[in-house]
Structures are given as C-alpha cells and as structure tokens.
Subunit: 341 residues, 4 copies
Amino acid sequence: MLSFESDYTEGAHPNILRQLMATNMVQEPGYGFDEFSQLAKERIQKALGHPEAQIEFLTGGTQTNQVVIDAMLTQYQGVIAAETGHINVHEAGAIEATGHKVLALTAKDAKLDAQTVDQYIQTFDQDENRDHMVFPGMVYVTYPTEFGTLYSREELAALHAVCQKHSIPLYIDGARLGYGLMSAQADLKFSDLPDLCDVFYIGGTKQGALCGEAVVFCHHNEPDHFLTIVKQHGALLAKGRLLGVQFAELFKDDLYFKLSQHADKLAAKIKRGFLNKGYRLYLDSVSNQQFFIVDNQKIAELAKKVRFARWEKYDDQHSVIRFVACWATPAESVDQLLKLI
Amino acid sequence: MLSFESDYTEGAHPNILRQLMATNMVQEPGYGFDEFSQLAKERIQKALGHPEAQIEFLTGGTQTNQVVIDAMLTQYQGVIAAETGHINVHEAGAIEATGHKVLALTAKDAKLDAQTVDQYIQTFDQDENRDHMVFPGMVYVTYPTEFGTLYSREELAALHAVCQKHSIPLYIDGARLGYGLMSAQADLKFSDLPDLCDVFYIGGTKQGALCGEAVVFCHHNEPDHFLTIVKQHGALLAKGRLLGVQFAELFKDDLYFKLSQHADKLAAKIKRGFLNKGYRLYLDSVSNQQFFIVDNQKIAELAKKVRFARWEKYDDQHSVIRFVACWATPAESVDQLLKLI
Amino acid sequence: MLSFESDYTEGAHPNILRQLMATNMVQEPGYGFDEFSQLAKERIQKALGHPEAQIEFLTGGTQTNQVVIDAMLTQYQGVIAAETGHINVHEAGAIEATGHKVLALTAKDAKLDAQTVDQYIQTFDQDENRDHMVFPGMVYVTYPTEFGTLYSREELAALHAVCQKHSIPLYIDGARLGYGLMSAQADLKFSDLPDLCDVFYIGGTKQGALCGEAVVFCHHNEPDHFLTIVKQHGALLAKGRLLGVQFAELFKDDLYFKLSQHADKLAAKIKRGFLNKGYRLYLDSVSNQQFFIVDNQKIAELAKKVRFARWEKYDDQHSVIRFVACWATPAESVDQLLKLI
Amino acid sequence: MLSFESDYTEGAHPNILRQLMATNMVQEPGYGFDEFSQLAKERIQKALGHPEAQIEFLTGGTQTNQVVIDAMLTQYQGVIAAETGHINVHEAGAIEATGHKVLALTAKDAKLDAQTVDQYIQTFDQDENRDHMVFPGMVYVTYPTEFGTLYSREELAALHAVCQKHSIPLYIDGARLGYGLMSAQADLKFSDLPDLCDVFYIGGTKQGALCGEAVVFCHHNEPDHFLTIVKQHGALLAKGRLLGVQFAELFKDDLYFKLSQHADKLAAKIKRGFLNKGYRLYLDSVSNQQFFIVDNQKIAELAKKVRFARWEKYDDQHSVIRFVACWATPAESVDQLLKLI
C-alpha cells in the first residue's frame, strides 16, 4: 500500500545504520561525551559557518521543546506561539507541565506576524494589571510551520528584531528544518539562522534519523548546567553516541539537505498533480507536507489504496487531508499516487 | 477623594470585625477544625438548602482556583475557560504553574456558550491526534463574569448538561457571586447552584470579608485528602477561625446578600447616570462593575477627583474605564460621582 | 479546659483587632500597596536598623517557605535542610510540589551543623556524578527549631560563612522568631539577622497575628518580579492591608518582642515545673515549646484536664508530649498546669 | 585501553543492528503502533508467562522512573525508596520535578527492608500530623541495586505483602534486570516478577540496546491514557519501531538473558580475582558491577591502563572504585585486567 502518512514511517537513512554498525564496538563515554557527538557538533558548526555555536542533542521534538523552553524561561514567564503552533496544540500540554503558559496569538498561514507580537508585548507592558499576568519570555515559531508554510527572511528578521527590542529570545522549532530550507520558495539558508534567531533545533526524527534533534544555541546563550536540566527532565540519553553518530552522518556531505530536497521536489510534484486535477489547496504549503480539501467520498475511495492523514473536517461534504513526502519516499510512489487521484 | 477603584479597597463589614473581637480569646483547634468554621459551613448549607454540601475555606481567589482545579483535574487534563476568564488572563499563570493548560475558547459578553463547549469537546473526541492533545477535564465559568455579565439559568443548565454529557465537572468561580445573584437581571438564586454545577466558590474578599473564599463541592465530590492538597499548595491557614468567623457572619441574617444588593443598586444607578449623560457602555454589565467608553480628555479630568480603573484602550481618543460599587460604597459617593461626569 | 496545644489557638492580640477596626473604612489600594503595609515595612526596617531591607508580606508559613524557596532556587537546585526541618516533614511536600528536592541532612538537637553542610557541598562538588545530582542551592534553617532549640550566633555565623563560600543563600524560617530571640538563652538580637543570613521571615501567625509572615530580603536580593511570583503561587492577598495593619501593630512599641518574652517566661516556668516533678526532657528546648517524656498512663490522666500535643512514641511505656506557651497564655494557666502534674 | 567504566560504553548487540537494517524501509505507524513493538510485547509476555501483562516502551531509565512514578502517584503522594536509590541520588531531582517527594529510608546493602517500610507507613498512619505530611504512595526498589546486591525472593515477597497491606504498588526499577536475574545468587526468575510486584521495567540501555526500557504493568494497572501522559512528559518516541525492534530482538531466543549471564560470569571472575589479590570488597555485589576499596596510589597506577569509575572516598588513603562487566565485555579483557592488579 502506498503511504504518505507522515515523515516518520521508515527507519533511518542507510548511511546512518551503516555508521552505527561501523562504530558499534568502539568504547565511548556516555551522556554525549563521545567522539561521535563531538564530530557531529563540529560538522554542524561548520555547516553553519559558526564555530562557536553551542550544540546539544536530544531525542525527540516535544522533549526538545519542553527542555529548551523550560530551561530558557524564568518561572513567571510564558512563551508566545501561533495558535496553531505545535506546542500549543499537539504536545499534550508538555510546556504547561513544566509550569509555563503558552501565550497563543492569532496566526495567518500558521505564521506569527512581527507586528502582532510587538503589539501584544507593548500592550502587556502598558497594562495596569501587568504584574498579575504571565510575562512574555520567548517567541516560538516553527520553520516550516505545521502547515508547510515558510517565513521569509524578512519576516524572521522582523520577529527577531521585535524579540531583541523586548530582550527575549526567538526560538525556532525546526522539526522539519531541512524540508523548509530546501523548499524552492525558501529565501534563507542554514547558515543564516544564527543571525535570525537565538536558539533553534535541527530536526532529525522526521528527516532521516531514527530519533534525535540537535539544539543550537546561537549566541553563547546555552543555559548553565544544561546537562543537569536535561537529566532532570528525563531527557538525557545514556548512549549519546546514538545521537552523535546520526547527526555526524546527516551533516556529512550535505546528506541532510539532499534528503530534504528530494522530499520537497516530490511534494511539489504532488501539489501540482492535485492542482492539475482540480483539487483545492487548504493552504499554500511550499514544503514537504501538502494539504488538500477533498470530497469525503473521494477520500474513502483513496483510503483503500493509499495511506494519508485526515487532518480536519472542512465542511459537511469535504475534509482536509494531508500527504507527506519525506527523505524515504520513492519517486515512483508519487507517480502511482497521481494516477489514483 | 472618591473611589470606585475596586471592591477590595476597604476592610471588612463591621459585624465581621465585631465577631472577630467577640470570639478572639476562645481557644480553638487550627486548620479549619474550629467551631466557627463548623458554624459557617452549617449556615451556608442551610442557605443552600443542601445539608450535604461539602464546604472548605480558602484565603483568596487565585489560590482557590489553583487548588480546586489542580485537585480535580487528572494530570493529562486541562480546563476549558472563556478567553477573557480570570484564570486565563489575570492570575499570572497560576493554573499552568500546577501543570495544567487553560483551554481558552472564544467568549461572547465574557461568557462561554454551551454549544461552543460541546463542539470543542466533540471535535477533540473525534480528532485522530487526540492522544497528543490536552484532554478537556473541566469547564470553568465566572458568575458574574469579569465584565459584570451574567449567565441565565438556562445558559448555565445547558453548560452543565454538556459537562455531564462528557463526564467532566462544571466549576463556577464566584469571586463576586453575591453581586451576581442579587442583580436585578439574575434569574437564579443561591440555592439553585448545586443543581447547576459541580463545584463553585463563594467569594468573600470582594464581598465584605478581610479575606476568604468558601468552596462548595455539590455532589459528594470533594477530592480525597483535600486538606493535604490544600497544605501542599501552601494554602492551608493555621487559624482557620479567621475564615470561619467571617463566613459565619456573612451568612447570618442574609448579610452576604444584603451587602451584595446594596452594591448592585448603586452600580445600576451609576450605569443609568452615565447613560443619561450620553456615555457609551463597553458591555452591558448588570452587576457591581460598570465599564464605560470615555474620551481620554474626560478621563484625565475625572481622575483628578475620583479613583477608577483604566481597563483598556478603546481607540485613539477613547479608553474603557471601570467603576465598581461594593458592600462599602456610600450612596452619597455615587451621587457625587454623577455630579462630576 | 486548659490548653497548651499550640501557639495558634487564639485569635490575635487585641491591639491588632482594634487597629483593624480603626482603619477599616480607609480606602486603600490592594496587593500590598496600602499605607499600612508601608508603615509596617518602615517599622520593621527600623527595628532591624536596616533601612534598605526589602520586606514582603505573605499569609502563612508553608506558603512563605514555598514561595521564597521556589523564587530563589534555580530549577536544577534543591534546598539543604535538617532532616527534622519543617519543610522536610510537615509541609505536605509543598517544596517538591514546585519541583525542588529537599536535601535532608542529619541534625543534632534539630540543628544543622556548619561543618556537615560544608562537607556535603564539598563532596557534591567533587563527585564525578555531580551533573546527575540535585545541586545544593540554599540552606534552610529554623530559628528556633521545631524542637525549641536555638542556634548560637556563632553557629549561624558559621553556617552563613559556609553559604557564602559556596555562593548560596542562607534562609531562616522564623515562624516563631520572636520566641527564639527573646529566649533567655538567645545570644543574638533581631538586628543581627541581616548579618547572619540572606533572607528570613518573621512569623506572625504563631506570634499574635490572625495570619501573616513578613519576608525580609537582607541584601537587595529580592527576586525580580516577586509580586508576580507570589501571585503565580496563589499567595497574593488582595487586601494586603490585613497583613500591613497587623505587622505595623506588632512592631509598634516592641509589642512583638514583649509578647514573645511573655511566652518564653511561661515556657521556662513549665520546664522548671516538670523538671522539679522529675519528668524528663525529650530535648533541652529553650523557647516557647517544651517536650517531655511522660508515662502513657499519666498522659491519659492529664489529657482529661489539659490539651497538649502528642508528639511521638518514645518507648512502649512512654510518649513525647508537647506543651506550648504563647503570647495569649495566661500566667494562671501555667500555675494550674503545674498543679496537675 | 581496557574499559570497565560502565555498561553503556558500546553500541548495541549486533543482532539488534542487523534487525534495524533488515526492517528499515518497512513503513510503520508511529508512536508504538508498529508491528515490531507488537512483536516485542508478545515475546516479553511469553517470556513472562503472562499474556495479559501491559507493556510500554520508553527511551531511558530516568525518563521511565519519572513517567511511571508520576503517572501512578496521586498528587499528595510520595515514593518510598532506599536512601541509596537511583531516584534519590542520581536522577537530578527528576521525581521532584514532577511534584513528588522521594521518601528516603535507611537501607542495608542498598536494599529496603520490608519491616522498615511497614514501620514507616504505620507510623505515618498513626501520626497526629499525618494530613500535613507526604503520603507514602508507592515503594520503589532496584533489582539489582545500585551496588549490585539482590533482593531474595522472600525479601521481595515481604515488601510486596507490605505494599498490598497498605494498598500501594511496588515498583521495581530493572535498569539492569537481566544482570540481576542471571546472577548465580539470584533465587527468582523473570516469570516470577508479576507475582512479586505491581510494575517493573526491563532495562535495555545497559543490557545491549542502543536505548530503551520496557515497562510492564503486571495487574491490568496501566494508568488511563498512559500514551498521553508519556507525551506530556516529552517521552513519546515518534519512531516507536526503534524500541520495538530492539526488544523484539533481545527477547528472541533468550538473547537478553544470555547476554546478562555472560556479563555476570565475567563480573564474578573479576570479583574472585580482586579477592585473591587481597583487595577488599566495598559491598558484596553479586551481579555485573563490582566495588572495591583500593589504595589511592594503586588507583592512580591502574588508571593509566584501564578505565573504571571512582565511586567515593573511603578514607584518607583509600577510595571505592567500580568495575562493570556487560554484554559486550570480552573475556580477554577481564584476563588482562586481572594481570594488572
């Protein structure tokens, strides 16, 4: 059966598994002090053109958001996010579980607007009741967003300027960072990120790794005793090598970006295919996830031959469905899919 | 200077202070096991016509919301509230500090609508990603609302029915409960509450007490070991008599309701006075808080002679200001105010 | 019936109630911005000889410990306390509820020893696994201790020196501070405290107030946005005047210390009385709580005529019982008690 | 260089890597709903002889303790553990971070004694101040303990009986479960566990997996909505197959137990070797970790040729050092080690 269900249906890129095998019996210290984690950090720093970036590896996306946000906020602060933001909707309250409110703002195309954020913080600052409210302590955005849209360089720069104006960090959740950066519509590149935000993570899980996300603190701003904070959140992997080997491999010879590009091209083909057949887009996604408004009967038919995600009800006759292309999607599968619709 | 700033600018009703004096040297056990707390519970039960109501006293409103909500939710649940709800806006994240998300829904006239809530929970229940989301575990409403509006009996009954349908409790924050119930527009009475919700609190702080709120569990649903939970939240008062004496006095000879009525009548007079002078209402409040849209220049003038709260910017020329009448407001002050506008 | 059960069995010193009455209808802003709170702060600063002390009022002891400790610790830190310390035993896990471990060390006479603390922190610092452990971030002591014993000035100075050496604050829980300072055995005075610790609180609840504790930050070290932190913990009293009036009264004409001295003298008389009759001390308490080892049969007899606390089993025939004298204890009651034993 | 530093210095057993490769491109649903996780559960159920055991996979040990304990305790409860227990010492306060106190009891040979636990709970139950204390809500033990000692079947049965008497669960942390069960001194087998406790976990990370622990709820007692609780803790792995494949492999043809036995035999050889040379045991460990008291000068010498863990200072001349044998330790390495000492 064809599957476009998600970007975590396969295991890992073969290079990763091969390298896990090749290094398997090398004895290394635990908790991220192994040589592979060191190598991975160096390769990421190099790709960033930023040798001083502080890099830490975690296992999954929700975990990363929970640890990074809790570590960087003061107890009386919350995190601003788009109302559609992953931390606000699909992380089971992991942020609130650490005591912090998600301050959800209206989004357009799943994106936060710099002016909206600035206005929100200004209004907060001038509010007579300010001291009885949750202080905005960080801005969280996703790149690409949960709906595959992208911030332009200008939009990110504007958000970052607002954050700097109010002395709070901008954090980019890059669970699908590569799929964003390699989009034909992206107007920024990997090495631009340290100029555009304060901390971000490079998603591994959805981009060809078995698991793993790499957090990058851009400006010597890694919280003190971050390892202990990670441990306290139950997030410290004993065999840090598992993360190190994977990211070292992903950042060898641009594999991470090549895999991303592969997926983006297939997703673009899916999009064109659906549009050519007259389907409507739910949102104009430009990366590896594509959302279409489809007649419920057609959905039932399709579901017999292909796996996809039912996103939400659109109206009584239609629903929104999602097709995902990823590092592992064969080009032929897309061809077959387009014949089915 | 005239003051209509809030309903906690004075101390307590004189009867309360007199009774604190009269009982001062009686030796009583601590932590709410004193005879005055017992008497207060009996008087409240009698006023409710519900001898089995379980009643516990706490010190303040945010504390009460924090303790009750945290005690009644399971860890993976959040609480549904109007986006304007006190817990969502003006309690400094006290709910999130205990690990629970406030699930804020759109409100009209600061009220949650039963259908909106039902739709939200149904959508949640049918969501493929449900298990990755915060479970709705309680509905929180304020009576009267933060803007002085009131749910009708029918509206509350509809909300309660939705809660029962989904097996979650309905909780009424009654920080200003008396001011709601004694409004000329209220169509429900105190003794109706146990039929209309699962738990509510009777505000004391804003209604003539020095401090104190009385939580009422309506259906034998007080959480096990509630005293320990209260203690764990730092909310257990050693001299529980302070709360007991006050509520015993407030519920003697209907004092609580008489004081509320006094305030509501003065507030209605303020409202008429402003309307007669051509001021616009921000919202049609029917209880002790009144919100007007006033020209900024006029506001500056008024502020020289009277204290009130600046609520929010309305447009470039106008702001919303709030006038509060309370148990302690002299009728003459209202007359003087109306001469000033 | 005679009662020596606790120091919170009566209401408040009459001066306090009188002043609450006298100021009752003065209109004041809420949340501690009232003139009485200001006056109370000034009187405490004067008594301390330390005009720059930062003072904040809270409602109860467990709440104060929870808020102060949570506000001053970083998330990966815990608080060192004697194993018998109130926060470790009798606060229902209020410290852990905010995410911090109580690092309980062995105590002698309910006191922490500077060398023990120093050794603990040194061992921690040298531990290879340090980063996987809870960092010691504060030292908590009680003055007087839960068993009525007192640190000498030298002992406190040594503890403070250890804290300074390791750059962590020393916090003194003074729930019964006056009863400690006015003990005939105390060798330090109120105004010495800022030199001996970083933060402490002056207990009101057990010392003649209806409720209330005054936190004193000694070295400009009040955490930023402390009011918001207090609110987030559900601990901000709307009518801060209730706390302000009380502490202003307690620190007028040395009332706080006079009441303490009264209790200490009666407690000393109880101690002598029991010793003269051949009873054994459980611990050599020098303040207002006295602990005796008494035969169970005698306990049963006594319990018919006097209320006291059963502390713990001593052996099969004996138990430890506690007698408390307080600001409200009449001298005659002590005489009557001594006749009964 | 020889290494006996820990049981997580190598990658994974080659069978695991081979199977990860073999299954790599099979498309599977995420979050543990893959066929490999299903297979792993069945194999574990079969090995347990308990087809109704509920099994869930998590990534690491601290995470597992945090999630399981937080999910099973009510908010006012804490967890009883040996003072030497991993959760009390080496998990950076991960349990307290979720709001629960670790109630640390004195241990002998790193083991909790049933009578000690029973006495503690009885004393708690009879304490007049019980409601102001943390309720004991679970007993946590490690098998084998942090120092390689083992509970006998009788000891575990006694602990379980105490738990049942007080209606709280017994939880066994089996981070090194196999190394315990395959010890020559163990008098219980894997399939006995459901009779001896309520929940336990099977450690993978230290026993030949890249990562992963399998939680077994023995008596239909998996908490409701456990997946959501796991997600809320940031602990839900998207590619659950990574855990499923590994445990399926470990429980194929008894691999888990064979690897454990291999390590235990080598550890026993190390122990005999050290004893023969006159070294003193720190504790009589019977599983894969061995602790010796060694002269500091000898330690410095050894450290030039072999890696081991420095555990703690013993006296001014000696320290405790730890040698670990694991699934990956070559027999020759042990021979070489024994020549060095």
